[in-house]
Structure formats: structure tokens, C-alpha cells
Subunit: 499 residues, 2 copies
């Protein structure tokens, strides 16, 4: 084979993968936005086949040969071509270890599981979901062996979502979190509570939609390349660096619910929209890991969006959108209200301080589930016990307990920890950013362009061109969980414990 | 090859085609509903690749061999398998007969033509479009030979859109139409005009949306299998017999625009939703032809939706949705208003009576164009002359004249006649239905279930299992255009010429 020919094949292969991914994303987007209710079956058939074709393409022996050839000529490749080859080779090795029929069966299972989970959650019926969840756990245990048989199963799964992490890394992280934050949360719980009642006045959806438009503008999101839609669970879906969709969910009696969804998903969107053009339609054209992705969304949501300078900057505009609701409120009251801490049942509604503990509970359960020391049937009991132990809340039912998240129904085990890691990485990015530039002056004027530029330069542009660990080192330095716990301790001590 | 193995391959092939079609439909749907503005490029890359993969799949020599093998064993096949083989073989033969380089060149030409046509229409500049249109005509003449070299070129093209039709069939049809309807339209034009001014009062979109929901219910469209969305140009898009989407377009000052879009597209949707389960994911799982599809949409839109009993049935509900707008209107006034005849320039806005003549004009022009007796440069003059002759309207410019439709720019010559045939088939279906059951009693009570059942039994269930001609014979008997012209003559004589 000639090198030129091989590079041509490399490009074609990646473009085809892009096309299949685009098709699957489009069908997924449709399914959660506009598709009629009883249509999962036909869509499942199509998605199963497309996923199968995509897998067949990636597992064809000719691809193996191509990647071998390119690896052997790595000195003659550009850095980008070399990294494309590396990542594809990793995919190839992993996928060729999963038998095609198991992969197809699994795709159909997750499609079914999503429906069953929805029904189970709606009717608060864990038993309905249990058999499907058991199958999903078994599949994932088996797949873990395909991913990396030298690792413990849960380590192999963790590595899928956040390459380079394992139980040792996370035990250290969550150990620090447990040690520093559980007492802090306890102390905060004893302090006088912040009043946020004005956030729960009646905020008409139409006005909230206009407020979303304003927030998109503040975030610097170009509406010609990023739409905002509505789904039950907000998410970001990227087609390419010119086409990203975010969604939010409006609640009439909660103005911050959608507000922080928009800022959070906006952070994800900025990452994808900031990736370099020359990486498009290649394996490197996407955020590098879940953890780094969450670092971006949570950076905007919490470190900026819940900062005093940001609230002071946007509050006059908020009063314009909601004149009646906010006429008797000050910016400082708003700042305190959006940072109210209240141990609660639902992860996605948790405040900045307790959020991490919701994740820790899921981490501990997954670790045991995949490790084989916890049976699916026992999840509800363990879940409820841990919520009481760490957060001091009693779980009244599984709907608000272990059935609340969609992740497991989608076959994602090992995904949750990346949420918490993202927050920790974000705190370190902020400290580094503060070394490089004046962060808070512009933010207090509602100007996020400097932040955007810093994040684009250090993180976004690279997509997956660099390894996750290199991106993190680039933007954070060495990982040090105490930077994160110190940040939270300072912030919430000032808010709750110094008066 | 074993027969069982071949049948397995047949199923797999068709399921893959279904998956590619589903993906392309989903991306198309997204592009006209929710995609951000500047995102065509990335989507185009994906769609081009998916369409290419789908074509590669269907033109693979192994498919040719498979279909040969199955054709040779046709006595051992079920009727459905036999028909699947026949239809796929027709697709295969056609796709493989066009030389790849010509097909590529043609694809690029139609891409370009679409842009050029948009610009030409916008700027009312036929000369801009002329050279491209000339090339399109030449290509189609040549392709006609690939399709069926034993037929005259235009007959071969007509056969692509409505198998079994040819110029002889259509000359007879349009001859009757010309003879019977041109004088009728002339007479109607001399009669006092119907007042429809109340249709153009202010009808708020929100109330119109609720009215759409009501119409969907009357049509018996299950919202769990059929959603209604909004697009500039209404359409129906079918994924499978459990998942169909229709769209409409609301105009604040025209309540019937969306009303009849919903009923028209609803008719298309009912067809697709009524197709048998055992045909799903095969080549036969879709409406059999453009003409039969239009017969269904126009049946609901005109024959039922513009009938006196239907209007009388729904009018009290209409008054509930639009109390202010319709308080001074009677059901009879509404019936007359929705049947107002007004010869006009634009086909898509034409009334039931004159619509057919818009199509006839296009038929006569295409016949001569492909037959070689009319040069592209002379289209505007002929177009304008025929509009004056048949409809009595002067065409002020090509934008509202021969540049109005997108069909030719997409390379579709021979498509238009199916619109008119659909109306004619519908009239014959109605007469046959009236023989079999009480049509108008239930309709006058807003009950369309009997009609649905009849159409499902005679037409919908078969999808493409039967040849179009057999479906039509099944539902209409022998084709007799005078049934259609008599229906129109009776209806519009009563409305306009008897007082």
C-alpha cells in the first residue's frame, strides 16, 4: 500500500463513521424531541442496523490492516494523522473484541431499556426495571472484559468514560471529598438558611424563553450554529463544530432550573463549537472525555454562573425579563439564593456543594454492582441508606431514588464519576486562568469573551487531538482534589458560616 | 445458494435499505424543522455518504445475483416475496443501467439546478435557469432510454412516477378534462362570486393549533403514531407504519390554509399508517405510487373535507374554536366559502375545480419538451398562452409562471400528472364506496371510521404489494375520467350555476 492511498482510506473511513454517527444522533434527537410516543420499535430496528453497519465498518479486517500500516509509518504522519490512527486503533482493538451479534443485541436492549425505565420511573416500579437492568449489568461486566481484560471490570468501564482514571484515582478523589465536604455540609445545615422563596414565584415560560435567548447571547453562542430546544432532561448534542443543539426544561415556579440548564449545556456547546476545523469529520472532532466535557459545563454553570460578579452583571437584565417577580430583590439576595445549599433527593437538582455526594453514592453502588458484590435487587436499599448517611435525607420512593437517572437504562456504568471530576478540574482551571488574566473584572461587566478565549485556547480547539490527561495537565496542572474542596469550603463558609 | 439463505439475504438487504432511508428521512426532517441556519454543509457531507452507501448496497453485483436467483425460483416464493423480488429487480436494473459517470454528473447537475432555480425564481429570470433546464431535459431524454428503450421517452418517464400510465392514457384523461371542465370553469367565472371574506379574518395561531388537534382526531390519526409539526411547505414523512409525521403551515389571516393542509397530509398519513405489518421493513412497505398517494390525500381534502355533510358536522366545533370570527357565519356559508372557485396563477394555491388544469398545462409542456417538439427557450410563451386559454388568467411574470414549481429543477419530468390522476381516482373510489356503504350519514355526524376502514381494506393495507394498476382497479374499477368530471360538474353547477 502507498502511504497516500492509506491516508485517503483513513479519511474515507472517518467520514463514513461521521455519517453513521450523524444519522444515529439525528434519530436520537428526534426520539426525545418530536417523535410520537409509540414509535420506538421501528426506530430501534433502524438504529440497530446503522449501529451494526458502523461497527462492521470499524471492525473490518481491512481497517485493522490499514491502521497497522499507518502505525508502522507513524514517523511520516502529521501529529493529527498519528493521533487519528492511535484513537481509531484503540476503537478497532476494543470493538473487534465485542462479537457483532452481542453488540447488535445490546443496542436493541438499550433501546428497549429506555422505554421500560421511563415506565418504571413513571409508575415508581423498580421491579419492572429490574430484569432489564440485570441484563444491562451483565452485558457491561462482559464488555468490560472486551475493553481491557487486564483491568478489573469497573476500572475498564471507568477508563471508557475517563481514560486514565480507575478506582484508585477515584477513591483518592472521593476520599478527599468525603473528608472535607461531609463535615462542611453538616455545618452548613446547622446555619441559618438562605431565603430563595422569590425564585419560586410564578415565572411565565414565554419570559423564561426570552431569558434563555439572552443567556445564549451572554455565553456567546451563535444561534446559526446552536439551537435551544425543550426536552424533559436537558442535554447537548453535537453534529459537528458548526452544528450543536442544546435543550432545557422550563418550570413555571422555578426560574433557576432552566437558567442553569442553559448555562450548563451552553458550556458543553462552547466546547464542541470551539474545536478546530481541520479536525472535523475525523475521530478527533469531539470533546476528549466526559470529565473534560463536564469541566466545561460546570465551569460556566457554577464557577462563573454562580459567582457574585456574574450575578451582579446579569441581575439588572433579569429584572427586566421578570419585573414583577424581582422588583423587591437585590443582586446580593439573588447571589445568595442561587447558592442556597439543601441536601436533597435528586442529583440533577442538587446544589453546587452537595452535588458531588450524589455522584459519590452512584460511584459506590456501581463499584459494587460491577464488582459483583451487590445484586441489582438490592440497589434500592443501598441507595436509600447512603442518601441518609451522606446527605441526611430519607428517600421516600424509587422514583425519586434509584430510578431517577437515565444513565443505567442507556447502558452507562462508570459515567457518573466524570460529573464530579469535571467540577474538580474546573476549580483548578479557574485558579490557573486567574494567574493568566483578569477573570472577574470582565465577568462583572457580563463579558465572557476572555474566558471563552482562554478555554478555547487551552482546551476546546484540541478536540480529541490531545489525550485527556494532557488536556487536563494543560489547563489544570497536576490533579489536586483539595483545590476543589478548598474552593467550596471558602465559598460556602463565606455564604453560610461567617455573618 | 440455498433458497432459505437467499430469502435471509433478501430480508437483510431490505432492512438495510430501510435503515438508510430512515436515517436520510430523519436528517431531512431535522433540516426543515429544528436545525440551526448555517448547518447545511456538515449535514450535506453525512447525507451524501449515507445516500452513496445505500446506492452502493443496491447496485452491488451480489444483489443482482441474488435477485436473479430468486426470480428463477419464483414458484417457490410467497406472493409477497415474489413482489419484493420484482420491485427490487426493477430498482436494480434501473440503477445499474445508468452509467456511473452519467449518474454522478446528473447528481451534480440537479444539485446546481436547485440553487440556480431558486435564484432564477427569486429574480424572475428565466434566462438564468434556461441553460440548466436544457441540460436537465437532455439528461432525462437519455435516461428515458435507460429506463425503457422500447417506450417513447416521455412514456418511459411517466412510467417511473405512475407505472402503467403513458401518453395515450393521459391524453384520454386530459382530453375529457379539457372538454368538460374548461367550459364549466368559464361558466362559473360568469356567475356571481361566493363570499369567503370571513375566512380571512384574524385567526390566532394558538386556536388554529387546537383546531388541528381536533381535525387529527376526526381523521382518526393516533397521536402516538403521528405527530403534527410546522414547516414552510406542509408535507408527510413516513418512517414506517407506526411512525408518520405530518406538517402544516399556519397563516393568521387564512384559516383554511392550514385546515386543508392538515386534512390533505392526514390523508397521506392514513395511507402509510394503514399498511400491513408483514410488509414492514421491506421494499413493499410504502404507498404504491404518487397517483395513488395523491388519491388518498385529495380524497380526504376535497371529496370528504370540502363536502357539505363534513362541513356541517365540524362547523359547530369550528365555531367553538373561533367564536368571534365565526359567530355571524352559517355552516352553509362555510361550505360555499371553502369551495370558492377562482382561476389563479399558482398551482399549489388552486381550488378543487381549476387545480387539474394547472397540471394539464404542465403535462402538455413536458410532453412536447421530452418529445422534442418544444425548445426550453419557448416554455414561457407556451406557458402563458395556455394559462390564458384554459384558465383565463394573464401571467404577469415567470416567477408566478413557469418558474413556480421546483420539480423540473430536481430533474422530475413526468411527475405532475400523478397529482391530477389522484383526484380522478378519488372520485371513482367515492362512487364505489357509496355502492358498498352509507358514506354520508356517518360523515354528517363527523364519523369517518367507515371511510377509513374501506380505504384501508381496498388500498392502504397493500402498501406496494399490488401493482398500482391493480390497486386502482381494486378500488376504482376501470378508469373512467368522466366520473371525475361529472362529480365536479354536479358539485360546481349546484354551487355556482343554480340559484
Amino acid at each position: 500500500m502507498e502511504l497516500n492511498e492509506a491516508l485517503q482510506q483513513l479519511e474515507t473511513l472517518q467520514k463514513k463513521m461521521y455519517a453513521y454517527n450523524t444519522a444515529l444522533s439525528s434519530l436520537y434527537l428526534d426520539s426525545v424531541t418530536t417523535a410520537p410516543g409509540d414509535t420506538a420499535e421501528g426506530r430501534g430496528v433502524a438504529m440497530g442496523i446503522l449501529a451494526g453497519e458502523s461497527q462492521k465498518l470499524m471492525t473490518d479486517p481491512s481497517v485493522g490492516n490499514l491502521l497497522e500500516f499507518l502505525s508502522a509509518h507513524s514517523q511520516e504522519l502529521t501529529f493529527s494523522q498519528k493521533r487519528q490512527t492511535e484513537e481509531l486503533k484503540r476503537d478497532y482493538d476494543q470493538l473487534t473484541r465485542i462479537p457483532a451479534d452481542e453488540y447488535m443485541e445490546y443496542t436493541m436492549l438499550t433501546n428497549e431499556a429506555s422505554d421500560v425505565w421511563h415506565k418504571a420511573k413513571e409508575t415508581d416500579d423498580f421491579e419492572l426495571f429490574r430484569p432489564v437492568l440485570e441484563k444491562l449489568v451483565e452485558f457491561n461486566k462482559k464488555f468490560a472484559g472486551y475493553y481491557d481484560s487486564t483491568k478489573k471490570p469497573y476500572d475498564a468501564l471507568l477508563n471508557e468514560y475517563e481514560r486514565g482514571t480507575d478506582m484508585e484515582y477515584l477513591d483518592r478523589f472521593f476520599g478527599t471529598v468525603r473528608e472535607k465536604l461531609v463535615p462542611l455540609i453538616h455545618a452548613v445545615g446547622q446555619a441559618p438558611q438562605i431565603d430563595d422563596s422569590f425564585l419560586h414565584r410564578h415565572y411565565p415560560i414565554e419570559a423564561q424563553k426570552k431569558f434563555s435567548d439572552y443567556l445564549m447571547e451572554v455565553l456567546g453562542l451563535d444561534r446559526n450554529h446552536c439551537t435551544i430546544g425543550e426536552t424533559e432532561h436537558p442535554f447537548t448534542l453535537e453534529f459537528n463544530n458548526q452544528d450543536v443543539r442544546i435543550t432545557t426544561n422550563y418550570m413555571e415556579n422555578n426560574v433557576t432550573s432552566s437558567m442553569y440548564s442553559v448555562i450548563h449545556e451552553g458550556g458543553h456547546a462552547k466546547y464542541e463549537l470551539g474545536i478546530r476545523d481541520d479536525l472535523q469529520y475525523t475521530r478527533l472532532a469531539g470533546g476528549v472525555s466526559m470529565g473534560v466535557h463536564e469541566s466545561q459545563s460546570r465551569f460556566y454553570e457554577n464557577l462563573i454562573g454562580r459567582s457574585r460578579p456574574f450575578i451582579e452583571a446579569i441581575f439588572p437584565k433579569m429584572q427586566e425579563f421578570f419585573p414583577e417577580q424581582l422588583s423587591d430583590v437585590t443582586a446580593e439576595q439573588m447571589y445568595r439564593a442561587v447558592n442556597r445549599v439543601e441536601p436533597s433527593l435528586i442529583r440533577t437538582e442538587a446544589d453546587e456543594l452537595t452535588y458531588c455526594l450524589h455522584v459519590m453514592i452512584r460511584y459506590e453502588i456501581e463499584k459494587q454492582l460491577i464488582g459483583g458484590t451487590l445484586a441489582v435487587k438490592d440497589i434500592p436499599a443501598v441507595w436509600n441508606r447512603l442518601y441518609e448517611e451522606y446527605l441526611g435525607v430519607k428517600v421516600p420512593n424509587d422514583r425519586e431514588g434509584c430510578l431517577q437517572d437515565s444513565h443505567w437504562s442507556g447502558g452507562s456504568f462508570g459515567y457518573f464519576p466524570s460529573y464530579a471530576l469535571g467540577s474538580a478540574y474546573g476549580a483548578q482551571m479557574l485558579r490557573n486562568m486567574e494567574q493568566d488574566m483578569d477573570v472577574w473584572g470582565p465577568v462583572s461587566r457580563g463579558d465572557l469573551t476572555g474566558i471563552s478565549a482562554w478555554l478555547k485556547e487551552k482546551i476546546h480547539q484540541y478536540g480529541s487531538l490531545l489525550e485527556p490527561a494532557d488536556v487536563i495537565k494543560n489547563a489544570c496542572g497536576e490533579f489536586d482534589p483539595t483545590v476543589y474542596t478548598d474552593y467550596l469550603t471558602d465559598k460556602y463558609t463565606e455564604l453560610y458560616l461567617k455573618r
